[in-house]
């Protein structure tokens, strides 16, 4: 009896879950990089700079949270960068001073993003087109829409209250940081504590098994893409507010950064595994390196080389742990 139970390792009751253990290594890597930077440049380890890093990371992190949901179910969303642009332009159009109360641009922007995401989900679930192609298609479509809606010009002259959302401070803390923390908690709870979160893991871990257990794949996927669209919209609104203008070409390439953050954070490209904490750490890692390289005044060409090496290196270290576990 007791002998058998020793054969089954990897219990997670109360202890560290195997699935989550990865993030601790990543955390150590992140802390190590921070210490190294703090020792190299006195400008790094200041409250102000750390706050700047988190602020800078927040938009990527929000996008990465959304895409983490999608990747966990075994999908992918390349359209988030375009959603940022579309929702930014849409929100900005309703955010001119003395027109609507600030809730209107926020609401309309979010709605646009949710609809965009729902459209992705609809095509993914109603057809057999791979999510990569669906969202690559909607990425192109979205970019076109943003340009059409804005007639190719930035939408500016936004109200102060709108510009406050992503650019203001509350008790000295940038709003972006507060929003990031709130949504980090919300996304973690959705993923870990709710039935739908469990279904995301199940669908990504084994679609057939999920189906055989009576889980409606299309519902789960619809929710996931819609959620991702919503978070991208939030990112788009915050970005617009932060740069005080709705740019039709904003967000280009953001999808790769967000996906990178999720995967660096341990989300499996095959689906079925991933955590919001990991994703947040992934986003912070990218942010810290980028900030550090700027502080160290590394020439921009070399920055790219160093950035690439550190990211690969961090994930190599992170993956060593898995090797030991067999």
């Amino acid at each position: 009896m007791e002998k058998d139970s020793t054969l089954i390792k990897g219990g997670d009751y109360g202890g560290i879950r195997i699935r989550d253990a990865g993030k601790y290594v990543l955390l150590i890597v992140l802390v190590a990089i921070c210490i190294a930077l703090a020792m190299t440049t006195p400008r790094f380890f200041t409250v102000q700079n750390l706050m700047i890093i988190v602020t800078q990371v927040s938009i990527n992190a929000l996008l990465a949270f959304g895409v983490t949901f999608v990747i966990i179910t075994g999908g992918i969303d390349l359209s988030i960068g375009s959603i940022v642009a579309v929702t930014g332009v849409v929100a900005a159009s309703f955010a001119h001073p003395d027109t609507y109360p600030v809730i209107v641009p926020i609401g309309v922007g979010l709605l646009a993003g949710l609809l965009f995401g729902a459209f992705n989900g609809f095509v993914v679930t109603r057809t057999k087109v791979p999510p990569f192609i669906v969202t690559l298609g909607t990425m192109t479509i979205g970019r076109g829409l943003a340009l059409i809606l804005s007639k190719g010009r930035p939408v500016s002259n936004l109200s102060d209250s709108f510009n406050f959302i992503g650019g203001g401070k509350v008790l000295g803390v940038p709003t972006l940081i507060i929003i990031l923390v709130v949504f980090f908690v919300v996304c973690t709870v959705i993923l870990k504590k709710t039935v739908i979160g469990r279904y995301m893991y199940a669908v990504g871990g084994n679609e057939q098994a999920a189906k055989a257990s009576g889980i409606q794949l299309s519902t789960v996927k619809m929710i996931v893409y819609t959620l991702c669209g919503g978070l991208a919209a939030l990112a788009g609104i915050l970005l617009t507010s932060r740069i005080t203008t709705g740019q039709p070409n904003a967000g280009a390439g953001f999808e790769l950064d967000a996906i990178a953050a999720a995967i660096i954070g341990g989300t499996s490209t095959a689906g079925g595994a991933g955590t919001m904490t990991g994703t947040l750490l992934g986003a912070l890692l990218i942010g810290v390196i980028s900030n550090g390289l700027d502080l160290l005044n590394v020439t921009s060409y070399y920055q790219q080389v160093v950035m690439g090496i550190i990211i690969i290196g961090a994930v190599v270290l992170d993956s060593l742990k898995h090797t030991k576990n067999g």
Binding site: P154, G167, N249
Partner: protein
């Protein structure tokens, strides 16, 4: 933050001025040239430069300026990505009482000083040249940069202003070549298919695209019949003008923009008098006046 102030106090014992520079894109040759001029001038003046590349992202640029502010640099030079979107950076720098100098292009919020030229003007010059060459009559196609970017918007604006003055000059097609030579070449090939002999002139919003158009036209044996004009006067562009394949380009003085920007930044940082606006004029480059631009 108090401790960091004292640290800075220690640092500034060397009295070397620190200028933070955020450039639009270090993958763009013209921008690299501006930056090189800055580096040269800074070395001569004993100024320390911290250069960062915004990679065409206004958000990134705003963040970089925030970072400069946190580092308490003595002055900031910004080569704005966007007119509007880069403005918060200016606001923030001004609020932190750090002089900020815009180089090459503008933001809607007025900075401490501006060094550069008006992009709209460059397109006016280019299009005017085309209009004159064609005697105010003919079919023109235009190649845009990345849609929605400040330079694209302004160059389109300038071109359209001139087109309005010449009702017989028709813009029969316009499309983005994304500032890229290969994309522009494919675009030109496709246009040759659809318009064949109808095209009289090509206006490309930068030299890279202009050279792509030249290549496609040459391959199709049409170069003799079509005028190509672009902007920037990069070395390749000048060479093409020399060969006669590119009819004209518009020279933007990178060297002056760069060195004047440093000069202004240093003056502003030291509290000396400086010019609020240093406008460096564009110049049309054709075979006739080429010699003075070739180094």
């Amino acid at each position: 933050s108090q401790s960091s102030t004292s640290e800075k106090g220690q640092n500034s014992e060397s009295k070397k001025l620190v200028v933070g520079v955020s450039m639009l894109s270090m993958q763009n040759e013209f921008i690299v040239n501006v930056h090189d001029a800055m580096v040269k001038k800074a070395e001569a003046d004993g100024v320390e430069l911290i250069t960062v590349d915004a990679e065409r992202s206004a958000l990134k640029q705003v963040e970089q300026i925030e970072s400069f502010i946190a580092q308490k640099v003595d002055a900031i030079i910004m080569n704005p990505c966007e007119v509007e979107a880069s403005s918060p950076a200016v606001t923030k720098a001004l609020a932190a009482k750090i002089p900020i100098i815009n180089v090459n292009s503008e933001t809607s919020t007025k900075p401490t000083a501006f060094v550069g030229s008006d992009d709209v003007e460059s397109a006016r010059i280019a299009m005017k040249y085309i209009a004159e060459k064609l005697g105010g009559k003919g079919n023109v196609v235009m190649m845009h940069g990345y849609m929605g970017q400040a330079a694209q918007i302004k160059r389109e604006q300038g071109a359209r202003e001139i087109l309005k003055q010449y009702p017989n000059l028709k813009l029969i097609a316009h499309q983005t070549g994304e500032w890229d030579r290969a994309k522009a070449m494919s675009l030109m090939e496709n246009w040759i298919q659809s318009y064949g002999g109808q095209i009289n002139a090509v206006f490309a919003q930068n030299d890279e695209m202009g050279l792509g158009a030249v290549k496609a036209l040459t391959d199709a044996g049409l170069k003799d019949k079509v005028i190509v004009v672009s902007i920037d006067a990069i070395p390749d562009g000048l060479q093409a003008v020399k060969k006669g394949t590119l009819d004209a380009t518009v020279f933007q003085n990178a060297e002056q923009q760069g060195s004047k920007a440093i000069e202004t930044a240093v003056k502003a940082a030291k509290g000396q008098a400086y010019d609020k606006e240093t406008l460096i004029p564009f110049q049309l480059v054709t075979k006739e006046n080429l010699a003075k631009f070739l180094k």
